[in-house]
Amino acid sequence: MTAVLAVHDLTLRFGGLTAVNAVGFSVEPGQIVAVIGPNGAGKTSLFNAITGIHPPTSGRILIDGRDVAAPYSILAALRWLGVGVATACAAVLAIELLPLWDVAIERLYEYRKPFPWGSAVPAAWDLLTSRAERKTVALTALVSLAVGAFGAWSVWIRSRRVPERVARAGIARTFQNIRLFRELSALDNVLVGMDAHLTSRSWHAVLRLPRHRKESATTRALALEILTTVGLGPDAHLTAGSLPYGHQRRLEIARALASRPKLLLLDEPAAGMNPVEAVALVALIRGIRDSGVTVLLIEHHMRVVMGISDRIVVLHYGNKIAEGTPEQIRADPKVIEAYLGAEGA
């Protein structure tokens, strides 16, 4: 079975600081894997690298065996060329605007008489290919074609691994410091999470087409269902920013679930929770796993980690120092040293 997530030799460097150093592990479908380590070990940086927020300095990230970065393709190349052509047309039009206007429109127009549209285009073409103008036109067209295509290419290169691509490939995440859309209602937050699966466009909304209203009703019902799963049903219409802390954490999870991910990344979901809430959270995570979503979580709450994880990966100063089942990790001397310091120190 292909691993849902496979990380090979992942390195993330910020200037002089190496946040993640050649880390490699994989997550099998249906598992709950935890990443633990003392503060500053690079756990959130690892998440950021996987989700494309800070693309890795080196290494590979495979989702379902495929690289998450956008592949080179003929279609992409055609798109760059298209942008180049559009830029060229715009540039030629801009440079030659006044002469074109003069020749194609002003000279042909008699006040209030019907305009000979048929002769406007040939007149324009004659101007552009005339001896006086053709060098300027050709030069402008070529230069702006190159500039436009190069610009499109460089934008594309930089956006091969952006967070939206990763999200659409099936990875959803929550954040260490809750990042909800505070002014939107809880329901709207979940609906935004679902956005990748929606098809209505702004025109449909404006004209209130029946197709739009039907999709709207279905998606709202679905979103409400997700909110009920995490226990926030009654809060659906409340502003996200006004919810208590525990509810906000659950709302973030609901928003992540709304995108129907293959893999759910949870960044310290139990932070700030009391034991009662932590127990509820554990049940929730198990429920998520049972519904078919693989879970990768960062957590400091040792009870939670030991209680639900199938496998644990331990990071320390950016390096992976151990990996195994909870029992193995508990007994691993390197892990103990990392958390408690060396014997006799």
Binding site: F14, N48, I53, F175
Partner: protein, 315 residues
């Protein structure tokens, strides 16, 4: 005039203009660096300073003693502008320090409007220098106090006039002094600390409000100096001049990387040069657009400005 002389002349003009803009841009960038406020009222503060300068010339009959007058103005106007700036911060911006940035921005726009209107009324004052109180809205001429003798001799085609020298003699020492101040004094260091991390600065015992007040005072003083230099260089002021100066200065600050002092100077010189060369080659009608085209091009390739630091968002 040979091509070389032409280019040299544009360089001189551009540098001089750039230095004047730099004084204003420094005030902009300092305030932005410390409270992330685009102080729209800054350009109009320069305008008020210019009006004060003209009033002093008229009231104290400074045409007779230009150098004494210059000295007087270079003291009185910066003090005035600094006081006004500090007061505005105290009254309008401090109470809303904790509100979103947009609130302070709109407030600054309001202050800018108020300054403009004060300038309009000021222009209607019944003084001879203001044209006797009629036509309050029209631009006022500033008497040519220091003349414009060419320092390279009257035979030279290239001109470095007394005015250019004045600009350089006022602005360059000021910038040096500012750099020394920001790097070497306690308040300067406190300013840099507050600009980087206000919370940490507070925890270290820095009185952030006082530091911000000091920033406004220095920015105001710089604006006042710029006002004197500007009015004596161009010999005309108007209640709407704040807009153009403020826009140029703000563009310069952004171009160099907002919040960055050397960047503001660099950006100002770039803009001064672009203006000079554009006007010099006769494309005056496109000069404004050209300045912005330069800005947009720079920002496309370096979104944080030429010397700006790319701020990483903490996730």
């Amino acid at each position: 005039m040979s091509w070389f002389e032409f280019v040299l002349q544009q360089l001189i003009t551009g540098l001089t203009n750039g230095l004047i803009i730099a004084l204003v841009a420094l005030g902009y960038t300092m305030v932005y660096g410390i409270i992330e406020l685009i102080n729209f009222a800054h350009g109009d503060l320069v305008m008020l300073g210019a009006f004060l300068a003209l009033t002093l010339i008229g009231a104290c009959h400074l045409e007779g003693s230009p150098w004494l007058g210059l000295g007087l103005m270079l003291i009185a106007v910066p003090v005035f502008c600094a006081a006004v700036n500090w007061t505005v911060d105290r009254v309008a911006y401090r109470p809303i320090r904790h509100a979103p940035k947009l609130t302070a921005l709109v407030s600054a726009i309001g202050v800018s409007f108020i300054f403009m209107n004060i300038g309009l009324f000021w222009g209607g004052a019944p003084m001879a220098v203001f044209g006797g109180g009629a036509a309050a809205a029209s631009p006022k001429d500033v008497p040519d106090l220091i003349g414009h003798t060419n320092l390279l001799g009257s035979g030279s085609l290239v001109q470095i006039t007394v005015k250019d020298a004045l600009v350089a003699l006022v602005t360059i020492p000021l910038m040096v002094a500012l750099t020394w101040f920001v790097r070497r004094t306690r308040i300067g260091t406190a300013m840099r600390a507050t600009a980087q991390n206000p919370m940490a600065a507070r925890l270290m015992g820095i009185d952030v409000d006082r530091v911000i007040g000091a920033t406004f005072i220095i920015g105001g003083a710089l604006a006042g100096m710029a006002a004197v230099v500007q009015s004596l260089y161009y010999n005309t002021i108007s209640f709407q001049m704040g807009y153009r100066i403020g826009l140029d200065a703000f563009t310069a600050a952004v171009l160099g990387g907002i919040g960055n002092l050397p960047g503001a100077v660099l950006g100002s010189i770039v803009i001064g040069l672009v203006r000079a060369f554009s006007d010099g080659y006769g494309a005056t009608q496109w000069t404004n657009a050209l300045v912005f085209l330069v800005l947009i091009l720079v920002l496309v390739f370096r979104p944080s400005g030429i010397l700006g630091a790319h701020v990483r968002e903490k996730v």
